[in-house]
């Protein structure tokens, strides 16, 4: 019973409804639309002038290094998504099925902590740990190995991406696995399915939506991150986020940076919609 809940729009209702509309239209939708418009602006004598020209698009789309960057960034983000999903799954499976409820709650609490610790500081730590004369190489040298080059490689970039994404992916996977109906699992086992078969045929399909949402978030985060590829991956060639920074900060070429940003947005939307479609697909 919701008496009065369906009353029309009065001052009271508007007071609660309008703030977020106003704020997000003005400071979220506004900037994004302006970015799209900006891709058509021109830069003359280091000053941006409003115009409606295709120059920036033609210029960026025609550059080989833009497409190198694009495919590198998509490739790295995809690799990151696959890696995080595979690394997280056994951990999430353990948390969902092999430990007590209390242990699971604590684990999720500890997995939340990294979100609130500076990603920059954590990246700096990895830099120190992975360096040529860093912690890992020093330890390896005691037993006669190394040194291995880990910084400025794809491996370094992946370590950074995992630092950023793994806690979130483990949490999302754990939540979706914990919600799988236990009776389904028991039924499968009673019908003689072994552990692996139960996971592949029962658990993964039931938890599919949550697993895919975890993967999508991982892709979005990795795709937009500039810290890992810059400080741990060596930034040669630059990924798209690094390109946005370089173009904006050094060249005053905001319109070209906007082209990169819009291409990134479109890519992310395609990936997100395709994944959601896949997640809810009926067999």
């Amino acid at each position: 019973m919701k008496t009065g809940a369906q009353k029309g729009l009065d001052g009271y209702a508007l007071t609660w409804r309008l703030p977020v509309i106003f704020w997000q239209l003005f400071f979220f939708v506004g900037p994004l639309l302006f970015t799209i418009a900006m891709t058509f602006f021109l830069v003359k004598n280091y000053r941006m002038t409003e115009a409606f020209e295709m120059k920036n698009w033609v210029k960026m789309m025609g550059k080989g290094y833009f497409w190198d960057s694009y495919f590198l960034t998509v490739g790295l983000a995809s690799l990151s998504t696959v890696t995080a999903t595979c690394l997280a799954f056994p951990a999430a499976y353990t948390l969902a099925f092999k430990v007590s409820d209390n242990a699971r709650r604590w684990a999720v609490f500890f997995l939340i902590i990294p979100f609130f610790t500076s990603y920059l500081v954590r990246t700096f730590s990895w830099y120190v740990i992975l360096a040529e004369s860093g912690v890992i190489n020093n330890m390896l040298s005691w037993i006669g190995f190394g040194p291995y080059t880990m910084l400025n490689t794809k491996f370094g970039t992946m370590v950074g991406y995992m630092t950023l994404t793994l806690p979130l992916v483990v949490i999302l996977q754990t939540l979706s696995l914990a919600n799988v109906d236990r009776r389904l699992i028991e039924a499968a086992q009673n019908l003689g399915a072994n552990g692996i078969w139960t996971i592949v045929k029962v658990i993964i399909p039931s938890a599919k939506v949550g697993l895919i949402i975890g993967a999508v978030f991982c892709f979005i985060l990795s795709f937009g991150d500039f810290v890992a590829p810059y400080y741990l991956g060596g930034s040669k060639p630059p990924t798209l986020p690094i390109m946005i920074i370089d173009t904006t900060k050094s060249g005053q070429q905001w319109p070209r940076a906007a082209v990169v940003a819009v291409v990134m947005m479109v890519t992310l939307m395609v990936v997100a919609f395709a994944s959601i479609k896949f997640a809810y697909r009926k067999k």
Binding site: P31, L111, I113, F116, S118, L120, V121, R122
Partner: protein, 266 residues
């Protein structure tokens, strides 16, 4: 059969521990190295020292940045919690056309990469002529943080019986009075929780702050700029300080969020 099952469980738990070690290694390393004397931190450790802390304590730039961060995160905490509360209450109480669009508008910002928002906001704020001020960061961070506040408060309102408000009206309270006497007191733990969480998010955000702040550096922007130079163990000291600040906020948030009160019903 029983034994292989047990062995498998042990292996899985071992793997889980490995994942946790991976996640916490950089945090713990940073804290340890903040007390280490070597300029290039490695093992074996040098001697115990507080010199990095002394260095940042005596650096006026660090104090300036800390002051900026404090102003920004407190303002963001208050603003985004207010907006988040309004949105959560609207979602809790009202059904209306285009509600899906309304919720999408309210919740989408965290799904857009920060670097894109950073560029978009830099350009937009220059266009409307408010760029390069400290409070520009507040405007931008509130966009990012309001959805988190909304989510936390919405979860709390979920536990409130909708009839509770109606009962207050039937007893003669106006909607405003019922809000003040019933809804807000009920949601209060989550309001405190949301405020702490959004402060922590804002306190750590660097990409948007870096783009829109102009010369007003916050602590994370300062860390970013130190990173672009050389290896500097000061980062570990600043990072440890930031870590304990954020942790305090998160733990307070958690305490209030799990605050157990009997489910309010009639």
């Amino acid at each position: 059969m029983k034994n292989t099952g047990r062995l498998l469980t042990v292996i899985l738990i071992g793997y889980l521990v490995f994942i946790f070690i991976f996640i916490f290694t950089p945090i713990i390393t940073s804290i340890i190295f903040s007390f280490n004397s070597d300029r290039f931190p490695t093992i074996p450790l040098g001697s115990f020292t507080l010199k990095w802390y002394e260095l940042i304590y005596n650096d006026p730039d660090v104090w300036e940045a800390a002051k900026n961060s404090l102003i920004v995160s407190v303002s963001v905490g208050i603003l985004s919690t207010i907006i988040g509360f309004c949105t959560a209450y609207t979602d809790f109480r009202y059904e209306f056309r285009f509600k899906n669009m309304y919720l999408a508008l309210a919740l989408l910002p965290p799904t857009v990469p920060l670097i894109i928002l950073a560029l978009a906001m830099l350009a937009w704020f220059s266009k409307i002529g408010v760029s390069g001020q400290l409070w520009t960061i507040v405007l931008a961070h509130t966009v990012l943080c309001a959805p988190f506040a909304m989510a936390v408060i919405r979860l709390r309102l979920q536990q409130m019986d909708a009839d509770l408000e109606s009962a207050a009206w039937n007893l003669g309270a106006s909607e405003w009075l019922a809000m003040k006497e019933v809804v807000i007191p009920f949601a209060l733990p989550s309001i405190v929780s949301a405020m702490c969480l959004t402060m922590a998010v804002s306190f750590d955000e660097f990409a948007v702050a870096w783009f829109v702040s102009g010369l007003n550096k916050t602590i994370p922007v300062m860390i970013l700029e130190i990173l672009q130079g050389n290896i500097d163990p000061q980062i570990n000291a600043i990072g440890t300080f930031v870590f304990f600040t954020s942790m305090t906020l998160v733990i307070i948030a958690q305490l209030f969020f799990t605050f157990r009160s009997p489910k309010a019903t009639l």
